[in-house]
């Protein structure tokens, strides 16, 4: 496969502080990779570095390489606006735009050049279907996105990320602000989406990591401690530190 996402000696600094300490990682395509670890271990920073969101934080810089296929996207020549269409992102707290449901989805494609109304309608429907939200909102596409419930808003944000056809989806604790029912919907959705996408998810919820992911990476103090198939990490980790974290003895 040519478009595999891979990092090589990726370091992220906030000022002098080295928050991510040289990570080498290859993400399997069409599968879910979970990043776990105690708070402050650098997993969210690492996730954000993958689509260069840390660029927006004053005083932060990142070194090393992020490869998509044979292209290094961590170089200054990379156009981040193009890159970010390829790599979608969803946050902990749902953040739909203050616009109608329809506009939330159509906004990105419109901006990136699709003007045809029929085509846009199709993209909106497809994206909402993929995010398992279509049936709930199809009759009120032009009402405010803020009138949706938290779980619906989060699925709308996923639909919005899907609207520009990304290859990779980054999820930063996407369910931690939601109720159990909404959470299980999101998890089901992740299972569906991985058929066509590479998904990286940060989570604090061990059960969730075990349920949804194929691979798990354990971060500690900015370093990648252990990275393997999820079943192995959760049943037979090679490092005692991993074992202790997973069984809830710290973190």
């Amino acid at each position: 496969m040519t478009d595999t996402l891979r990092t090589e000696n990726l370091k992220v600094y906030y000022g002098e502080h080295e928050a991510v300490k040289g990570i080498d990682m290859t993400f399997a395509e069409q599968s879910v990779t979970a990043l776990i670890g105690p708070s402050g271990c650098g997993k969210s920073t690492f996730l954000r570095s993958l689509n260069r969101m840390n660029d927006e934080i004053p005083g932060s810089r990142q070194t090393g390489n992020i490869w998509i296929g044979d292209k290094d996207i961590n170089s200054s020549e990379t156009d981040v606006t193009v890159l970010r269409q390829k790599i979608g992102m969803v946050w902990q707290r749902p953040n739909p735009f203050y616009k109608s449901i329809y506009e939330n989805i159509a906004f990105g494609p419109k901006y990136h050049g699709i003007k045809n109304r029929k085509q846009l309608d199709q993209i909106v429907e497809d994206s909402l279907r993929k995010a398992a939200l279509w049936d709930e909102v199809k009759d009120r596409l032009h009402t405010s996105a803020l009138s949706l419930s938290g779980g619906q808003q989060q699925r709308l944000c996923i639909a919005r990320a899907l609207s520009v056809n990304p290859d990779i989806l980054l999820l930063d604790e996407p369910a931690s602000a939601l109720d159990p029912i909404s959470t299980s919907k999101i998890e089901e959705l992740i299972g569906e989406l991985k058929k066509s996408l590479t998904i990286v998810i940060v989570t604090h919820n061990m059960q969730q990591a075990a349920r949804v992911s194929d691979f798990t990476a354990y971060f500690y103090l900015g370093s990648l401690m252990e990275y393997n198939e999820t079943s192995i990490i959760f049943t037979n980790p090679s490092k005692p530190n991993t074992q202790e974290y997973i069984s809830g003895r710290f973190g």
């Binding site: 969101m53 606006t81 970010r84 269409q85 953040n95 735009f97 203050y98 990136h112 405010s144 990320a161």
Partner: protein, 295 residues
């Protein structure tokens, strides 16, 4: 004192102050309207003022106030929005931006008579724009700029930062995020700021005495070419506004009905501000709804 009693007492005091302010405002409004309304007629609103005889109107002054408001806003809004957006979204936190913020604060507390004199020396005389609507608009812009800049900056800062992140992650440019995502959310606060700024345009007199002037030449209301000398739209003609007219009539009016004219003009001014407020709020809400689909 028991917490419950203290709470009751505090609530009582706060409610009393709130009611006091409302009563003072209503009293003033009532007084102005009571004294002025009887003098307002179509003729009063449209005819020209008289120097010595009875029965003068405020037609040109009314027009001047509205036109000056438009001219000022044409200059103030783009400048204020631009500077405010820069301060909120582009300016790095350093000594320079702190200094700009301080200067803006100081500017907003300048006495209007001082700004008026500055306008007289620089705009009216040095740049030779004379006593004109344009000079007046420049001076009023100096007043309103700090308000517009500060309000715009705060409005943009009040938008949750997750909105901006969402836009960035979609691959939107910074400019697109500002215009299409942040601006609609910030709009209601900006509209409020614009109303406040506009209120000052209607009410300002001191600064306009030396810049827009205290006289209005004969205006030909059938000639709407802004380039013509006697056109009402000519921005380079002297123009006495309603507020200035009230001051002039009160202090040096010779007409026997000067007091009634001042009272009538005051009532008109108050009503004008009120109408403008309502219109601007309505417009702001309509735009907000259109952009955000919020009912």
């Amino acid at each position: 004192m028991k917490p419950k009693a203290a709470d009751k007492l505090a609530t009582g005091i706060i409610v009393f102050f709130a009611l006091l302010i409302v009563a003072v405002l209503l009293g003033m409004l009532g007084f102005i309207l009571f004294r002025g309304l009887s003098h307002i007629s179509w003729d009063f609103l449209t005819s020209e003022p008289q120097t010595i005889r009875e029965g003068g109107g405020i037609g040109p002054q009314l027009f001047n106030s509205l036109y000056l408001l438009i001219l000022t806003m044409i200059i103030t809004i783009p400048l204020g929005l631009g500077a405010g957006i820069y301060m909120a979204e582009y300016a790095k936190p350093n000594k320079l931006t702190d200094a700009i913020r301080l200067i803006v604060e100081v500017l907003s507390s300048f006495p209007s008579i001082v700004v008026g004199l500055f306008g007289l020396l620089v705009v009216v005389q040095q740049f030779d724009f004379g006593f004109s609507l344009f000079s007046g608009a420049i001076v009023l812009t100096i007043f309103n700029m700090p308000l517009m800049v500060r309000v715009t900056e705060q409005a943009f800062r009040s938008v949750p930062k997750e909105q901006k992140e969402a836009g960035l992650a979609m691959g939107l440019s910074k400019w697109k995020i500002i215009t299409s995502i942040l601006f609609p959310v910030a709009l209601p606060i900006i509209v409020t700021g614009t109303i406040l700024a506009a209120g000052r345009v209607f009410g300002e007199a001191a600064a306009l005495l030396f810049t827009a002037g205290m006289t209005t030449p004969h205006i030909n209301f059938s000639d709407w070419n802004p380039l013509h000398h006697n056109s009402p739209l000519n921005p380079f003609r002297p123009a006495e506004t309603l507020a200035v007219h009230i001051w002039k009539v009160n202090s040096e009016g010779l007409a026997p009905d000067a007091a009634q004219i001042a009272a009538g003009a005051s009532a008109v001014l108050v009503i004008l501000v009120l109408i403008f407020n309502l219109l601007a709020r309505w417009l702001g809400r309509a735009l907000y709804r259109k952009f955000t689909s919020i009912k």
